[in-house]
């Protein structure tokens, strides 16, 4: 009886342990599932807000328009039908709220009960009209025709140069500026962090006396422990005004500010990993170099660095990964303009910052919400790729050793 009980509890505990062991895998799978379920939904939606229609006069031969064309029409960048393959007349823009320019309050009715009739008449009478209005005001005997709008396409999503998910009548979901902004800021960060981080790693592992190293090591750990909002706050009150003054800019919230803060934040990763790699250089290898009359410095750059190069690159790549995924600090200092940046002194917006800034205002399940999840998917894939790259590099290193 006792052995049975013991056996049972052993099995039970093993099961419990196994469950815990698989939970990370389960979480990753769940993350992928939820992220992609919501994110891919974006490609099943039309960029025009649900419950709204865009209609043309019956005589207008156009059947479909892309969301970019619609946007350009309403921004009056396209003013003639001929520009999008129609007749040479100029376009007449109409939104539901413009109705009072055409009809009296009596005709519209106090509670808009005459609105659908008015819109119907208007679309019928103006052959060059493009009308954007809620679907519920679409008359039963509507004399125009509804414009079909293409679903959000991959090309539009990844190639679009404009991110304006709340634009009306047609949302603009081009992630290019966000992707470029992310890479831009991260690249700047790594350019700043790599020389500093490498120098510190070399200093700590090869040059500094043991007691200096013993002091520096926990300090670097501390640097890694500071929360990202604190970095962001520091950037906001010190770096941003500094940049504004130095470069005489209208605003200091720029890609540069983001790069500086992210660079500082990437430092501990780069330092710790490269230092570890360098300290793993076999003592005998360093001694062999010194025994040949090489100076300490020659030994460092001719033996130690080549030996630990995969560890160093792993550190650099992980540093980039950190920078790409970092949210709060960037959100606070980069100014968040969703345009393709032309210099480091302009505001930029990164993918994580976009999610953080907009998710709160995006209605659950809507196009905007899903678009933000799609951004999450992109971010997830980038970081996954980086992780795998690091793994690949470190595996190769082990292979190399013997």
């Amino acid at each position: 009886m006792k052995t049975f009980y013991k056996k049972f509890s052993e099995k039970f505990i093993e099961g419990l342990l196994m469950l815990s062991g698989t939970i990370t895998s389960l979480t990753v799978v769940l993350i992928v599932f939820f992220l992609f379920k919501e994110g891919l939904g974006v490609f099943d939606k039309k960029p025009v807000e649900e419950g709204y229609v865009i209609a043309l006069s019956k005589s207008n031969p156009l059947k479909t328009l892309s969301s970019e064309q619609i946007k350009n029409i309403y921004d009056q960048k396209i003013t003639h039908w001929s520009e999008i393959g129609g007749k040479p007349d100029s376009i007449i823009l109409f939104r539901a709220e413009d109705i009072s320019n055409f009809y009296s309050d009596e005709e519209i009715g106090e509670n808009f009960e005459g609105l659908s009739t008015c819109i119907n008449r208007l679309v019928d009478s103006l052959p060059d009209i493009i009308a954007f209005f809620p679907k519920k005001y679409l008359a039963k005997d509507f004399k125009g025709h509804e414009l079909t709008v293409d679903k959000v396409s991959l090309k539009e999503f990844f190639g679009g140069k404009e991110w304006f998910p709340t634009a009306q009548p047609s949302a603009q979901l081009g992630v290019l500026p966000l992707i470029l902004g992310t890479l831009w800021v991260s690249l700047g960060a790594i350019l700043l962090a790599l020389p500093l981080g490498l120098a510190a790693a070399i200093f700590m592992s090869e040059i500094a006396k043991d007691n200096v190293r013993r002091i520096m090591k926990p300090l670097i750990e501390l640097l890694a422990g500071i929360p990202s909002v604190v970095y962001g706050f520091f950037g906001l009150v010190i770096i941003v005004p500094l940049i504004q003054k130095t470069f005489n800019l209208p605003v200091g919230e720029t890609g540069l500010a983001g790069s500086i803060i992210l660079g500082i934040m990437a430092l501990p990763t780069i330092i710790t990993i490269s230092e570890d790699a360098m300290r793993n250089t076999p003592r005998a290898m360093k001694e062999a170099s010194l025994a040949l009359g090489a100076s300490k410095w020659q030994t460092i750059y001719k033996v130690v660095i080549p030996y630990s190069i995969s560890g160093i690159s792993a550190g650099a790549i992980l540093g980039i990964g950190r920078a790409i995924g970092e949210t709060m600090a960037v959100l606070m200092v980069t100014g968040n303009a969703a345009v393709i940046p032309h210099s480091i002194l302009e505001p930029v917006r990164t993918i994580p910052a976009t999610i953080a800034a907009e998710l709160g205002e995006a209605p659950n399940g809507g196009l905007h919400y899903q678009a933000l999840f799609a951004l999450g998917c992109i971010l997830f894939l980038i970081t996954l790729f980086i992780n795998l790259a690091v793994e690949f590099i470190s595996n190769r290193k082990q292979h190399n050793k013997h």
């Binding site: 052993e10 093993e14 342990l17 815990s20 990370t24 993350i31 750990e221 606070m332 998710l359 999840f373």
Partner: protein, 294 residues
């Protein structure tokens, strides 16, 4: 060597080394200086703000006056909640990985997945927490949803630290115990865990430091912009220190006037991290000595 002027060569080598080493030294000190600038800036600016009232009072007048009490409590709840989840699960997972699973494909997969989880940006955790805990499971914006999200984020850290601690336990201990007829679990619980305990606890403290400062995962799962009361159940929203700092420094009602509050909040956050680090280092030393003496 016949082709080289010995003295000139020696001089060159010496000079190059001196230049290189000085550059590295200066850059390294620059890294340390950056840390000190950030720390001292926040400590100096924040120190005058910190008072008993600041820590124990509700925010007042659109968060430009008063204290940060609910944010402190909120963060404590979140840290506690997330650790309540991450610590047992993480330690169990590590035990499973290190003591139970044999090397092979399953171990590889679990390891890879844990690594992947560790690499996922915190904002993605936020998205996930929102869609699963807040929406799908219907927890709403709540301490429960926030704690679970943060717990998942901390999980890989706890697992990695525990695994390292377990790995450093000499195999002979296990063999001795198993040889005496103890079962696997008995061996783990009575022999391996006690030896690994100091390192595990150190790791736990460090992960507390990390969790307390995370903002992105709680943005959409629990954090309240302004809520001058304490949470009463796990389904309540709560304020949290990092989110509070974000709010009052970027989008508060009056950013200029709430600056002092921001400095104070930043200092409290830094203080938590500092304490966690010091505690972890202290424990490491304390236990290190104790273990050696045994």
């Amino acid at each position: 060597m016949e082709l080289v002027d010995e003295n000139k060569l020696a001089k060159n080598k010496k000079r190059n080394q001196a230049i290189a080493f000085w550059i590295f030294r200066i850059l390294s000190y620059a890294v340390v200086a950056i840390l000190f600038v950030i720390l001292s800036f926040i400590i100096i600016k924040g120190f005058s703000v910190i008072s008993w009232d600041f820590i124990t009072k509700m925010p007042e007048e659109g968060m430009t006056k008063g204290g940060i009490f609910p944010a402190i409590i909120g963060t404590l709840c979140l840290v506690g909640g997330s650790m309540l989840f991450a610590f047992p699960v993480g330690v169990f997972a590590a035990i499973y990985m290190n003591e139970y699973v044999k090397a092979g494909i399953i171990k590889k997969i679990i390891k890879q997945m844990t690594n992947n989880l560790a690499g996922i940006p915190s904002i993605v955790f936020g998205l996930f927490g929102m869609s699963l805990f807040v929406n799908k499971l219907g927890f709403g914006d709540s301490l429960l949803a926030g704690s679970l999200t943060l717990g998942l984020l901390a999980l890989p850290v706890v697992i990695r630290i525990t695994e390292e601690a377990l790995k450093s336990v000499d195999n002979t201990f296990r063999q001795a115990s198993l040889g005496l007829g103890a079962s696997k679990w008995e061996t783990t619980r009575r022999v391996v865990l006690p030896i690994a305990f100091p390192n595990i606890i150190t790791g736990l403290i460090l992960s507390i430091g990390r969790v307390s400062g995370e903002t992105a995962p709680i943005l959409f799962t629990v954090a309240a912009y302004f809520l001058p009361k304490l949470p009463t159940s796990i389904f309540d929203q709560a304020m949290a220190l990092p989110y509070h700092l974000y709010v009052i420094s970027t989008s508060g009602t009056n950013i200029e006037e709430s600056r002092p509050i921001a400095y104070g909040t930043a200092l409290v956050l830094i203080f938590i991290v500092l304490i966690a680090n010091l505690l972890a280092n202290g424990l490491r030393k304390y236990f290190g000595k104790k273990v050696k003496m045994n």
